[in-house]
């Protein structure tokens, strides 16, 4: 276990935290991802019903992935830092 002074010195020398997605990009991403998810959901509702719903499932999974990232970006851009 390092001492407090060691950690203090280490903390002063290391580079600062950088997020994976830059902060200024989050509102733009939120808008584009959620808009795409919305459009894909609309497209999903127009798809014909088939016995093996391959097309429906692929559109649904793409829309959910976009919605997942879009919602996280949305929460962060309005100030709820999740």
């Amino acid at each position: 276990m390092a001492t407090y002074e060691d950690i203090q010195a280490l903390h002063a020398s290391l580079p600062p935290f950088e997020p994976i997605v830059p902060v200024w990009l989050l509102p733009i991403l939120a808008f584009t991802l959620l808009a795409s998810a919305f459009l894909l959901t609309f497209y999903f509702t127009t798809l014909p019903k088939s016995t093996i719903p391959v097309r429906e499932l692929s559109v649904a999974s793409l829309a959910s992935v976009l919605a997942g990232f879009g919602v996280v970006a949305l929460f962060n851009s309005v100030g709820v830092y999740v």
Binding site: H11, L14, V23, E56, V65, G68, V72, Y81, V82
Partner: protein, 490 residues
């Protein structure tokens, strides 16, 4: 009777024996002790300088003592050699059997040679050492405080000369006690043992005081002295502080939220609070100094979006000035409570702000560890904290958590905190400490690792919920709720 005498003797011998194991009484001699008490409001600074002469060679530690009533008030102790920059290691010893005196050891950087001299400075901060006297005062009355302490500085070694000096905040002193019978230590000098000059009161010098860190001295020779002085600043106390620091890796943000219960520790208000009188005094700028109308705080630079609300709702009477980029390391926050805080009144509020995570957190690429530094509390001028609970909430899926508090807290506990978009919850560490002063604003360092899969838990969780909705939609599309009419005729 004999058994009791035996027990007493054994106990006394045991105390001497254990003391001799740790440090013989004859290893040091105090050439001079000067205690300076800077009288204040809720916190009092006491600096004791011990000029010591070593009677033996190679003794590694010097022992100093605090009486039990001093110990109950002391929140912070630091020891240094005069002229030295580094603080020396101070340790509490339970070697002494007596419970009226507490012994502390100071580890000297280099053991002294025989007959060598050095000066050790011991700084302590006492909280709530001065009490308002008289305990009640009118709305336009002045605030006076009373400080009581023992006349002699206790020490396990013999002292050749000793002095206590009180520094008053203003030259206005109502009264101070004149010691009744210090004759045995003043060597029959005609000069009064206590002298006031301007804003300083000096008790002493007292000569040839034997080793005093024991009950016999405290009971027989020790006297209590008190100083009754006027104090023209507010006496504030944060009776309870709950700080929560939440780290967000997606938003690169550190949110700090304080729930503060503030109390004015001045004389309690006598009679009703007259708003008319208060307005008149405000317009004439003659509101007594003990009434708190606003609180100024200096949070670190780079913070944004501060919020200030209480039980009723948002409090808009506040001012925030962000730090002027490179010039200062502090932002300015002025809060004005809903009502002026008169003596004896309380005000509870919640204060919070956001800060970019890069200002407080670093990343070690080699070890894949993040280290965050969160200040224990942000100092409110003229205030001390009675009980503080600081919780650091780490991101979801944080592992390998190591904590480095700036001073040993009273308790540390681990919990799981759940908030928006959480599935498994976030690990959180809680530190509890009693009696914080302006010297306790150091950073708590916590280091942790977050793997990329743990980081992706949030969008995957939301995506899974969305996928669930789509699957439900798939099923619902295929269910035909129509009631078939007359398809089969009987």
């Amino acid at each position: 009777m004999l058994a009791r005498w035996h027990a007493l003797l054994l106990l006394h011998l045991a105390s001497w024996a254990s003391l001799s194991l740790a440090d013989p009484v004859r290893s040091f001699e105090n050439t001079a002790i000067v205690r300076t008490v800077e009288l204040g409001g809720s916190s009092t600074h006491v600096t004791t300088s011990y000029i010591v002469r070593s009677l033996e060679a190679g003794v590694p530690a010097y022992y100093f003592a605090l009486s039990d009533e001093e110990l109950s008030k002391t929140s912070w102790i630091e020891a240094k050699l005069k002229g030295g920059k580094d603080t020396l290691k101070v340790q509490r010893h339970s070697v002494h059997v007596d419970d009226r005196v507490a012994l502390y050891s100071v580890t000297l950087p280099k053991p002294l040679a025989k007959n060598a001299s050095t000066t050790i400075l011991v700084n302590t901060i006492q909280t709530h050492a001065s009490k308002p006297w008289p305990p009640m005062a009118k709305q336009s009355g002045k605030q006076s405080l009373l400080y009581e302490t023992g006349l002699y500085v206790l020490s396990p070694y013999k002292s050749i000369t000793q002095r206590t000096k009180f520094k008053l905040p203003t030259p206005v002193v109502h009264s101070f006690t004149t010691p009744s019978a210090p004759a045995k230590f003043t060597q029959g000098s005609e000069q009064s043992p206590v002298v006031q000059s301007g804003a300083a009161i000096t008790y002493g010098p007292f000569q040839d005081i034997p080793p005093s860190a024991e009950t016999m001295f405290v009971d027989e020779a020790q006297e209590n002295i008190s100083v009754h002085y006027q104090y023209d600043h507010p006496v504030l106390a944060v009776t309870s502080l709950k700080r929560s620091a939440e780290i967000s890796h997606w938003g690169a943000n550190l949110n700090i939220e304080d729930k503060i219960d503030l109390r004015n520790g001045g004389p309690a208000l006598e009679g009703h609070f007259s708003r008319v009188l208060h307005q008149m005094q405000s317009s004439r700028n003659s509101v007594p100094a003990s009434i708190v109308r606003n609180i100024q705080m200096y949070p670190p630079a780079g913070i944004r979006d501060p919020y200030f609300y209480d039980r009723i709702g948002n409090v808009s009477t506040s001012r925030f000035r962000p730090a002027i980029s490179s010039l200062s390391k502090q932002s300015f926050l002025e809060l004005r409570p809903r009502y002026p805080l008169v003596g004896g009144w309380n005000y509870s509020f919640t204060l919070g702000w956001d800060a970019p995570l890069g200002d407080s957190t670093t990343y070690d690429a080699k070890e894949d560890k993040y280290t965050v530094g969160v200040p224990f509390w942000t100092h409110i001028p003229n205030a001390v904290v009675d009980e503080a609970e600081v919780t650091i909430i780490l991101p979801e899926g944080a592992t390998d958590i190591s904590i480095y508090p700036p001073f040993p807290p009273n308790s540390i506990s681990r919990r799981t905190h759940t908030t928006y978009l959480d599935t498994t919850g976030r690990p959180s560490v809680t530190f509890v400490k009693y009696g914080l002063t302006e010297k306790h604003t150091g950073l708590i360092y916590v280091s942790y690792s977050v793997s990329t899969t743990a980081h992706m838990k949030k969008p995957i969780a939301v995506g899974a919920a969305a996928m669930g909705l789509f699957v439900v939609a798939l099923i619902v599309r295929r269910i035909n709720p129509k009631i078939h009419k007359g398809k089969k005729t009987a």
